[in-house]
Symmetry: D2
């Protein structure tokens, strides 16, 4: 039985508390939050857990796992202390504020043989797992483009811009589906509230083989959209995460390239075929992810969303910031 | 009664023929097309019109108006000949293949006091006219961003890329709504069929006052989307041109900027309000545009979609091509 | 070449005029309408056709076909005169105001060996033809129910209620898909404007083998819906006629009946499978129907939407009226 | 602090457990379920609560409230025992299997001065509360019709048909919005699995003043729809419970009745106006309902969803069954 301490009972913390509490291999021993109001909520819901104000759970001897779900700039210190004290760590995305911090945590977990998982929840959804299978089995053919729109009326956070808030979702899915081979990044964006933080951003990620990925991230959209379109040489795909009954649609459509020439003639004509929406299991991703985390700890398996994966995502975020600061200059990944 | 000759009975020509034929102030005298098959179709539908293969209608003495709806690279020659022979000209978008040609046509029409209209049909839709009123009356407040997605499985054309095919629609609406003050353009894109032509493109247009416009244009999308989101300081707007019952939605939403600070605190919180969909008259834009063209000829009024407007659109297209060729470099408009 | 005379240039007439005019085997010789305004419109669009006020085209010797697209109560007289004078007849739906009239027209066409077609346009859409194939090939299995919602903010007509206006569409599709074996009809409805005409109606049609069909017809709906759901033992289907990209969806879903019993246990559990949207050709149904009409005349083939089919639809309408008048009593078809 | 015992930890029980556990005025003391598997789940999630197999919690002296969330046929016995032992009762919908049982519970609660609440959750949603305000304030004008579609691929239950499963939702909303004055009921339906239970049903409910309500209930639909349309003389409304961003839409549409007559002339023409979607608070209805229940107990206020309301819903269900058994005969409510 893993003894779990959770730091941060704000926006996402209650979901983690609920899932760790319901997992039959975990004991939710302690919840920490600096806000008295949130501590009250935690205590009412989990009367059997200890609820404390001190966020330093790392040195407690009655804990095996530290779950870090606090603002980004605190991730590094909290995770580092936990690893140094021999605890397995679950840390929210983005992993850290920069790549140096992320690299240090990766090395620390490696040297201590501890499990370090970055909560890229989307990898545990039925939709992303279905897409992973489709891409890996070649159902889409060669990939042409990956276009994601992730926009809504957002809650501004004072320490990160819209990119650090939303792009980790896309970057982690892209890392999973397209591989870790992003070649370069370019970004444009703007902020409108004198905070120095972008609230609208467009990011282009360049891959080899003419594959282009593009993200539209926006905290100022009146409508909520979560839609990714993936074009391939054989088939195309739409992932609409807000359409629970048709989350993934696969289109047997594409282009037939013809060689006939002549005035008015077209070079490529649309090939129209049927669409199908496969069954996408409607599981709670977080429940699966917690079970997977427990399994990784027990089997010493490295998670797919390990610290290394988290580091790659932070690298992309850093490159994006650099491009933004340089008016959209293309920043090469190394 | 204006005597009308139409050159080009391909994709768009039949719509123009139908509307000029139905207009009580026009006589559809002659239709020209180089394809025998299309000439047969024209003759069956308009038995009272003369149908010819020769595209040179400019010198005919029984015509007052030449309608040019042929491939882009032929626009300049056909329109020039028509103007030189004293005919009023309706030319399809984009006006010409480059700005030099466009400028020459503008000057020619000016010096001959002839009406030159570029068919930017969208300006005559109920939706764009409603948006124009909303923007001009300040209903949206200061504009923050303009985001357009115009994607579908397209018919590739051998003489123009996806930008020259689709961007004229957006550029003309932006020119109308945001004004002719675009400051700079940057673009990324790629092609997948060894034609040298982009089939996927992302364009960012920079305006003063922190207003950003962005277009996603795509011939390889399995789904057809025609959606523009406009964010303003007071209200936000969605124009979904494929939703005839709710083409325009106005959201009384935005951000309340607060100054309180502190760990975890947000700087701006969403202001949620009602949405409303105003009545958008369901007129045929082309019918209105033909009536407007006739009126401009009779009153010697300069059309809102004059040659000058057409030239501005071609300038944006040229700048976009330049940025694409320079890997997304920001190209200033002058 | 068939010489065509068209009576009625109101709501639907212009569509028929356009399609008969474009058909290479037809000459649109004459258009008749009692309204001067509509005659002007017709004359402007078809300068080569004769436009007259007299609706009696039946005795003209220069016509082979009479197209009747006038108010329902005039269909019988106009069609009868045309048949008696040896003309083939295309008549709008519903065929006549009652079954006696319809039967007389059927007999007249039969005895004169003339083609009589009732314009049940939906039978010529790609969607209905696709559904016909699916049902006939057993893709859906045994049919369980047929549910249609056909509602919008309607234009009230002074001579017919919402049922005579909208139900012919559903009844003709049901006649085509489910066969002519409707066993009984029951209906509820109400009117709200002291016209004596229902504006909201619900109709249940009983078939053998536990198949239930149900229609919701409504002229007072703020939203336009055209959606039919068909449940079968093997698969289920949704036909959404306002969704041009996914007009037909086929669901590999159903119920697994199990025999295990016991407190809390279910008797049948949902079988979830994929959905697919087949390619539905986006043709203009009316164009196809006109071509089919011409072919039927030339080959003396009886149309699928013959007078007999039109009579069956009128029978269902009559039975519905009877049930309405008797507070929803079940009326048997004979 | 109210001490709460919950009977039934199946489909809906966990939601009630979670909300009673989180309510600051309640202690979730005991959970009972006959299934060992479900008891394990309950114990893992609520380690501080006692979890037992015996469903007889009524005689326990350490409980103030009994929550009954078991199959319908057990409601009467469990609620009766609880009331007889002086406990306040929360019982799931439908309240009981017949009106006799419901009436007895109402009288028992009355004579013992105990709070008896039937869980008609929808009354506590932001959507229904918004509609209640709109109807009561006359925003819709006189009501013309109430049309609800509540269909999905359902889990068959062995003790009740689709009507007893789904209609309580609609009947309780209708009772709340339209008042308790339903005049009569008629129903058609059919079952397809030899269970003697209907899986598809259509119910018409007649009110005074020409107001018609109609329900489509269906366990065999491949798509999930939860949509109610309400037509009024001034405005119309659509409640789409699956569209969280536009749950309620109000249409400023209707009919203008004109008196001009004449051939082809219409008697009523559509009045088209704007649509607006008011802000509908996105609260968890069950949380609100539990708070309301606690308040009713403390203030001895009779809940809006009291036993009397529950009885009216069961009366409508009984009448529907009677009509079904009599082939759709109209059954008068008394």
């Amino acid at each position: 039985m893993l003894r779990v301490g959770l730091v941060g009972y704000g926006y996402w913390g209650p979901n983690l508390a609920r899932n760790f509490n319901s997992n039959p291999d975990c004991n939710l021993v302690r919840i920490s939050d600096i806000s008295e109001k949130r501590r009250k909520l935690a205590a009412q819901t989990y009367p059997h857990a200890e609820v404390v104000a001190d966020t330093n759970l790392a040195t407690a001897t009655d804990l095996d796992v530290i779950v870090v779900t606090t603002p980004v700039f605190t991730h590094y210190q909290l995770a580092k202390a936990a690893l140094e004290n021999g605890k397995h760590v679950w840390v929210e995305k983005p992993m850290t504020s920069n790549t140096d911090q992320a690299r240090e945590l990766v090395n620390l977990a490696e040297s201590k043989a501890l499990t370090l998982l970055v909560d890229h929840t989307f990898l545990f959804t039925g939709a992303v797992q279905k897409m992973k299978t489709l891409v890996d089995e070649g159902v889409l053919g060669d990939l042409y483009y990956y276009d994601s729109v992730r926009i809504n009326l957002g809650i501004f956070q004072h320490d990160i811009n819209v990119i650090w808030d939303l792009a980790p979702h896309d970057f982690s899915v892209m890392d999973h589906l397209l591989g870790p081979s992003a070649r370069a990044v370019a970004a444009h964006g703007c902020g409108h509230f004198n905070t120095g933080l972008e609230d609208v951003a467009y990011i282009t990620v360049f891959y080899d083989s003419n594959l282009l990925a593009h993200l539209h991230l926006n905290w100022l959209s009146p409508v909520k959209i979560r839609r990714t379109v993936v074009g391939g040489s054989k088939r195309m795909l739409v992932w609409d995460d807000l359409n629970p009954e048709e989350r993934i649609k696969i289109y047997d459509k594409g282009m037939e390239v013809t060689t006939r020439e002549g005035l008015y003639h077209v070079l490529a004509t649309p090939r129209v075929g049927q669409m199908y929406a496969p069954v996408v299991p409607d599981v709670e991703a977080l429940k699966n992810e917690v079970e997977y985390f427990v399994k990784c700890i027990h089997t010493r398996q490295k998670p797919v969303n390990s610290g290394e994966a988290g580091l790659r995502i932070v690298s992309l975020l850093e490159a994006t910031d650099k491009s933004l600061a340089a008016s959209g200059k293309i920043i090469k990944m190394n």
